[in-house]
């Protein structure tokens, strides 16, 4: 990295946070703006010691709190903020890659204006602001529109006020996935344009109708945590989770039972269940639910079975189990994205209502607003206005409709009819490319801001470092424009002292109001500092009772989704990695295997094996998918977790701009979707399509090899019934061959020998032995640990070509194995596979130069400097968790250089950047272990259990991973490892792994 960092730059960065940085380990509250040379060292900045700042993750609308780890003036890692009520210290895959947005080499480096020749040229901020002012000059306020993504907080209010001062009310908020159907249903049923929160931790029975709550739906970390709280096997008990969806999503993979209902038939299934509950009087159904009786009559389990392809008895059984409660039914995700989804959402709410769940597990008033109340119709209105010439000046912030809206809406054409378009995009996305002026906003970790993910939760963002480029916060830009324009605008935003008014002032002004609402009586400064330290302020909002409105039953009348004969239903589902496309420029997200398909870099269409065979298509074939709207060309992934009449494609790829990592990768599924707004005002993510092979074939860039574990007991699971009986280790029973007597005798004598060894040397276990336990009944396969490991350990991305050769460098990988299928229900199991830190490691003795060695505290160390690259260790590792540097990923100019400036700022200075020809591996974040040990030593206190968190453990949303000292009998990891559910992978090889997996427990209905 010598080219990336020279002495001057190093010192510059070292000095950046000099202005403030109040607390060493706490969270600084002061504005950092000035560069101070390190001639006089800053007292509270110690090189080599990280500073953490609280902020808020803005990757999605959930509002998770983060602690940004800053080393020598640069943010290098995000960790969850344990104070935050939503994520409680945990982060997801996407959040872990957020800093790749900050340090993205394709970020806009400063304001740009489109010249006459249509290309962008850099201009100064002053000129840029003058340009905006000129453009606004003389334009009727009514013709100024502002399009933002989901902003709920001071920025949204600023935009509203700013527009109002101009005489406009055209603030359009738009998100590609906006929950319109659920909101419509709630309006129709309860007269509330709101979304409830679902108390999944209270529910012992979770029934999801397509809600992918472990991936993108609402607040995935929060729901993953709550789901695990009720569903993970604890103290001999666990909840049950049934997932109804035509495609087995990651959430579906975590279900005890997956019911592949026909696309669009989920509503009918829900109503049939409500019918059963009402008919059999299984629940304390509210009295007014009788209004649904007539509407429900036609939804007998048999009728629903005919429509959905499920078994009527199954529907009845699930209804009864559901009614036994406490339960919750979730509408959403793929299940509420077809043209008739409002009816589906309503049906699910009716099921909740009938089962008496409203107010208990389905709580209104807590005010979750995952998409900021946006609606697709608002975007349609904007496009209509643009086409009609009613828009003269358009501002776009945090939205990319040219890419993420149905292509048939032709947003790009409409933009062409707007005289002056200003984008605040941080990247040259498709929409920014069509604008006239780009005024790049700060990254979330470079700016002051706040965010209200739900009522009563106010989260703060603070700049943790000097901006990487000459970007400027949009709030400040708007205020500057106001100053330039003068008149009402100036009066409102830039009062008497022209230099004083900044967005931070505006923000603090608003927080004075917030202080009043939360009833805090401290001086504002104290309140502000505490809020910053904590990441915000929050209170528990009061639940709001709801009642059915009259005519509520009408919404249930459904027109089932039925593609014309001979066509397949295409479901465009939100990608859990790149989402609606905004994550596509993060190489880590591109390279992280999709949790379901294990695909990387690009898009694919999932086809059921039967359908593929019928169409004569094999995996890796390139097909044309044609809907009435358009055609896309994409590679085929054959996936058994799908109904044969459905094909599925993730969103988010197929960018035509958006930087080197996103551009020209995969295909944009939005090109297949109808632009017409549905009844509920959203987009239908379903389309009737035909598939046609093109004859081309590619090798898929997928991370996995085999999908079956070949009875090797790698991912073990037992049923709840077996677990309650104490019948653990069901897998062993499959080892049918009985052990002969003579072998037994030999085994015993060997065991004696081993036991004798326990009295001396390393077997005595007097010193520390680091170990880990991974609870598979908690692991959801979300892969947050994978990206956390990327960020912590400087793992390079290798690109799709090398992934095709399986040369990816993922120290932590989530193996996904299928069980069943065919006649039996398909079951997916996850195993996070990392170095097992074997006590008797096969990798160590084979290294000719002692690069692989055993540390005194039980780790399989790897001395990168000493490694000559014979790769014998990897051959001899049964777990295959050693990764080789086939190329120089850290050398500028080499073909697979992974850290283009300024991405190299992301590197963790505590971890070596490996060169070519070296084997590398997980060492349980040894830098964290040693760091904590040093800290404890400096403080003169013994190291406590829980002082060391590995990166994967820290981020795991469900606390499936626990790390600690195995020789400490009281440590959490020791207690967990000794659970009877515990097993070691490939235990028969006598490798004595330090990682204990706790068998997954499945709450299945025994046939």
């Amino acid at each position: 990295m010598s080219d990336g960092m020279n002495r001057r730059k190093f010192l510059k960065v070292l000095g950046v946070t000099g202005g403030g940085a109040a607390a060493l380990a706490g969270c600084s509250t002061d504005h950092v703006e000035k560069l101070i040379p390190y001639l006089v060292p800053v007292e509270d900045q110690i090189p080599g010691i990280a500073t953490y700042y609280a902020s808020t993750c803005r990757e999605c609308a959930a509002g998770c709190g983060v602690h940004v780890k800053v080393r020598e003036g640069r943010a290098i890692k995000l960790e969850g903020n344990p104070d935050n009520p939503i994520n409680q210290g945990r982060l997801c895959t996407r959040a872990q890659t957020a800093l790749q947005g900050t340090y993205n080499p394709d970020r806009m480096q400063g304001p740009m204006a489109k010249g006459a020749d249509g290309t962008f040229k850099p201009i100064s901020w002053d000129d840029a602001i003058a340009k905006v002012a000129t453009a606004l000059d003389g334009v009727s306020g009514d013709k100024v529109w502002f399009l933002t993504g989901n902003e709920r907080g001071s920025f949204a209010e600023l935009v509203d006020e700013w527009l109002r001062a101009l005489g406009s009310s055209h603030h359009v908020t738009w998100e590609a996935f906006s929950y319109e159907a659920a909101r419509y249903a709630n309006r129709a049923l309860f007269g509330l344009d709101a979304l409830p929160t679902y108390a999944m931790d209270q529910a012992k029975y979770v029934l999801s109708f397509g809600a992918d709550f472990l991936e993108t739906w609402h607040s995935p970390i929060e729901y993953a945590r709550e789901f695990t709280a009720s569903h993970a096997f604890q103290n001999g008990k666990m909840g049950r989770f049934v997932h109804v969806e035509p495609r087995m999503s990651l959430t579906g993979m975590n279900a005890d039972e997956w019911l592949p209902a026909a696309a669009g038939s989920e509503g009918a299934v829900a109503l049939a269940m409500a019918n059963v509950i009402m008919g059999e009087k299984l629940s304390a159904t509210p009295a007014d639910a009788r209004r649904f009786e007539d509407a429900l009559k036609e939804y007998t389990p048999e009728a629903a079975a005919a429509r959905s392809g499920l078994d009527a008895d199954t529907i009845r059984r699930v209804a009864r189990e559901f009614a036994a409660g406490p339960s919750v039914a979730l509408p959403g995700g793929v299940g509420t994205q077809h043209p008739d989804a409002h009816a589906t959402a309503a049906a699910v709410m009716v099921l909740n209502y009938v089962a008496g769940n409203i107010g208990k597990t389905v709580v209104f008033g807590a005010g979750a607003t995952p998409a900021g109340g946006s609606a697709y119709t608002d975007l349609v209105n904007l496009v209509e206005a643009m086409n009609a010439g009613r828009v003269q000046v358009l501002f776009v912030h945090g939205a990319n409709p040219v890419f993420a809206a149905p292509q048939a809406l032709k947003v790009a054409d409409a933009l062409g009819k707007v005289k002056f378009k200003v984008s605040f995009a941080r990247f040259m996305d498709e929409t920014a490319a069509d604008c006239d002026l780009i005024l790049p906003d700060h990254d979330p970790y470079e700016q002051w801001n706040d965010f209200e993910p739900r009522d009563g939760v106010h989260l703060l963002q603070q700049p943790v470092m000097q901006p990487v480029f000459t970007t400027r916060q949009t709030g400040d830009v708007l205020i500057d424009v106001a100053r330039e324009v003068g008149g009402t605008l100036q009066k409102q935003f830039a009062p008497a002292s022209p230099d004083a008014a900044t967005y931070k002032d505006y923000l603090q002004g608003r927080w004075k109001t917030i202080q009043r609402t939360v009833g805090n009586h401290d001086p504002f400064d104290t309140f502000w500092r505490n809020a910053l330290k904590q990441g915000g302020v929050w209170s528990t909002p009061r639940a709001q009772p709801v009642r059915l409105v009259s005519g509520a039953a009408q919404v249930l009348a459904t027109a089932p989704w039925a593609p014309p004969k001979g066509k397949l239903t295409l479901i465009a589902y939100p990608s859990s990695t790149v989402y609606d496309g905004r994550g596509a420029n993060r190489p880590w997200l591109q390279e992280m295997p999709d949790p379901v398909t294990k695909m990387t870099w690009g898009s694919w269409v999932e086809i059921h094996p039967e359908t593929a065979e019928h169409l004569g298509i094999a995996e890796g074939d390139i097909v044309d998918i044609t809907s009435e709207i358009g055609t896309v060309r994409v590679q085929v992934y054959v996936y058994p977790g799908l109904r044969p009449d459905v094909v599925a494609m993730p969103t988010g790829q197929g960018h035509t701009a958006y930087g080197r990592y996103a551009k020209d990768r995969g295909a944009n599924v939005f090109a297949l979707l109808d632009a017409k707004a549905t009844v509920f005002g959203g987009v239908s993510h379903y389309a009737a399509v035909t598939l046609e092979g093109t004859g081309d074939h590619v090798r898929l860039a997928k991370a996995e090899g085999g999908t079956r574990q070949l009875d090797r007991g790698i991912a073990q699971a037992i049923t709840l019934a077996a677990a309650t009986k104490g019948d653990y280790r069901a897998w062993e029973a499959q080892e049918a061959a009985p052990i002969p007597e003579r072998v037994k005798a030999q085994q015993e004598s060997w065991q004696e020998h081993v036991d004798r060894g326990k009295d001396y040397g390393p077997y005595k276990l007097e010193t520390t032995r680091w170990g880990m336990s991974i609870d598979l009944s908690k692991c959801t396969g979300c892969s947050a640990c994978v990206t956390a490991c990327f960020a912590e350990n400087n793992l390079p991305v290798v690109g799709p070509d090398l992934v095709r050769q399986h040369r990816q460098m993922h120290w932590m990988r989530i193996e996904r194995y299928f069980e069943g299928g065919g006649d039996k229900p398909l079951e997916a199991r996850f195993v996070p596979m990392l170095c097992q830190q074997c006590g008797n490691a096969p990798c160590e003795p084979v290294c000719p130069v002692f690069a692989a060695y055993h540390t005194p505290d039980g780790l399989n160390g790897q001395v990168y400097n000493r490694c000559v690259g014979t790769r014998y260790c990897s051959n001899n590792c049964p777990y295959k968790v050693r990764y080789f540097n086939w190329f120089d990923y850290s050398k500028k100019g080499d073909p697979y250089f992974a850290w283009p400036e300024p991405m190299n700022w992301l590197l963790n200075p505590d971890v070596t950047v490996r060169g070519k020809g070296v084997m590398e591996k997980c060492t349980f974040c040894i830098q964290r272990i040693r760091g904590a040990q040093h800290e404890a030593k400096l403080k003169g206190v013994p190291l406590k259990d829980g002082d060391i968190l590995t990166a994967c453990q820290q981020t795991c949303p469900t606390e499936a991973i626990v790390f600690g000292n195995l020789t400490d009998p009281g440590s959490r990891v020791s207690l967990l490892s000794e659970q009877r559910r515990g097993y070691k992978v490939l235990e028969g090889l006598n490798t004595k792994p330090a990682v204990t997996y706790l068998e997954k427990v499945r709450n299945v209905v025994e046939a």
Partner: protein, 452 residues
């Protein structure tokens, strides 16, 4: 040589005289013809290509080769084992058969011995080509250093370092010592720069009785020293695999199996080399059909042992009852490398069965073709053992298919070029058939006095 037994009495007619021997064999050292230069140019071109491929690999990284995890060893280690194996028959023929007093070896042993040295020289390159940081290859050698770093004597790879370097030293010495009287013989016949060369390499050999006595003893002891290496070196090489826990590698049969395979492939290579050389150098009088017949018998014997080993491997995979072992064995035969496995089964087990027929053993073209097949089969055997075992280990999620890239193939071709370059140089500069030993087995001359 005094210790070599007398051959069966042969008729005086058709037997070359001592003078003929010196003249005929020294004639092979005459000015090279156009064919030789064309061949040499070809060989050097291929070698240059191999070097370029290697440089590309060193510059950009091992990723230029086709490696696909979990297959971390591929063409290079295959070729390493192949070349070490080739080397073995040379020592077998020159040392073991010497100790066993097999007179027929005299005609072929020099070629075999030279082949041994060049094959070890080729083999020794591959571990270096194969490691990730070739520039630190010396870290594999235990040398005292300030940093207190030492090598791991538990690692079979380190045993390899010693095995191969010892083998090279001993076989090179053996070849050279055997050459001394011959060099002296040709020294007296040549002029020009080669005179100087031979004067130095002839070590002042004058053929005195004392020299002969010392020579005889030295040769005998060196033969005794080299003999255990025939068994040990390839056993050590096989332990690279057998000491691991990789299913398909972790087998106790590996050492004898590999040694037999090594001799098998080596003898095949000797045949491959002898046939064209005999023709080009017109040495039919010295390298006769009976020699080929004997070589063929040796091939047949070792081939049968190899075939037996295959069967034992299959049987043990089944008999062990170990599911992983069974899966690996099944994958080897019927998995994605089935083509390689069946190439090796056919080339190594089926085709050599023709050698039961004397007609085949006595047909030079048939032997030549068969030897090529065995060479191919034995290379493939190592490839399949290494690659298919690694491709199908314990972790099903991490089972992938490796395909070598152009770099692998070019470097492999380059290694053949490297080998043949040395061989061509040797053949034109040193007697490829031992003058001394051939003379020893010629019946005593009655009328004509020996010269030289």
């Amino acid at each position: 040589m005094a210790t070599t037994a007398h051959p069966e009495p042969a008729t005086q007619q058709g037997q070359p005289s001592y003078h003929d021997v010196t003249r005929d064999i020294a004639a092979t050292l005459g000015n090279p013809g156009r064919g030789y230069f064309i061949l040499m140019a070809f060989v050097l071109t291929v070698l240059a290509a191999g070097i370029i491929a290697l440089l590309v690999q060193i510059r950009y990284g091992l990723g230029e080769a086709g490696y696909e995890p979990p297959v971390m060893w591929g063409v290079y280690i295959t070729s390493f084992v192949f070349w070490v194996g080739i080397a073995h028959s040379g020592t077998l023929i020159s040392a073991i058969l010497y100790l066993f007093r097999s007179a027929w070896r005299t005609a072929v042993y020099r070629t075999a011995e030279a082949m041994t040295v060049f094959a070890v020289m080729t083999a020794g390159l591959f571990p270096l080509i194969h490691i990730g940081r070739i520039w630190y290859f010396y870290w594999l050698i235990p040398y005292p250093n300030q940093r207190g770093l030492w090598v791991n004597f538990k690692s079979p790879l380190l045993w390899d370092v010693f095995a191969v370097s010892t083998y090279f030293t001993v076989s090179a010495t053996f070849l050279f010592v055997g050459l001394v009287p011959d060099i002296a013989a040709v020294r007296d016949h040549v002029t020009g720069w080669r005179k100087k060369l031979y004067r130095i390499t002839g070590l002042g050999w004058r053929g005195t009785d004392q020299q002969w006595r010392h020579f005889g003893k030295a040769y005998l002891y060196l033969a005794a020293l080299a003999t255990p290496l025939v068994l040990s070196v390839h056993s050590v090489v096989s332990w690279d695999f057998a000491m691991s826990i990789v299913p398909g590698w972790h087998e106790t049969i590996f050492a004898p199996y590999f040694v037999a395979g090594a001799i098998y492939s080596g003898v095949a290579m000797v045949v491959t080399l002898l046939v064209p050389m005999r023709k080009a150098f017109k040495l039919e009088r010295y390298i006769r059909l009976e020699h080929f017949d004997n070589l063929a018998k040796l091939m047949l014997l070792t081939g049968m042992i190899v075939g037996y080993s295959y069967v034992v491997e299959w049987f043990m995979a089944w008999y062990s009852g170990n599911a992983v072992e069974r899966a690996s064995a099944f994958y080897r035969q019927f998995g994605s490398y089935w083509w390689g496995a069946w190439t090796m089964n056919i080339c190594n087990c089926l085709l050599p069965l023709f050698l039961w027929f004397k007609k085949v053993r006595n047909s030079i073209p048939a032997l030549f073709v068969l030897s090529l097949f065995v060479n191919l089969g034995m290379w493939m055997e190592r490839f399949i053992i290494i690659v298919s075992s690694l491709a199908h280990e314990y972790e099903p999620y991490w089972m992938h298919h490796y395909t070598p890239s152009w770099v692998d193939w070019t470097i492999l071709a380059g290694s053949f070029a490297w080998f043949f370059m040395w061989f061509l140089l040797f053949a034109k500069n040193f007697p490829t058939v031992s003058i001394v030993e051939v003379k020893e087995i010629i019946p005593f001359p009655r009328k004509e006095r020996a010269r030289a």
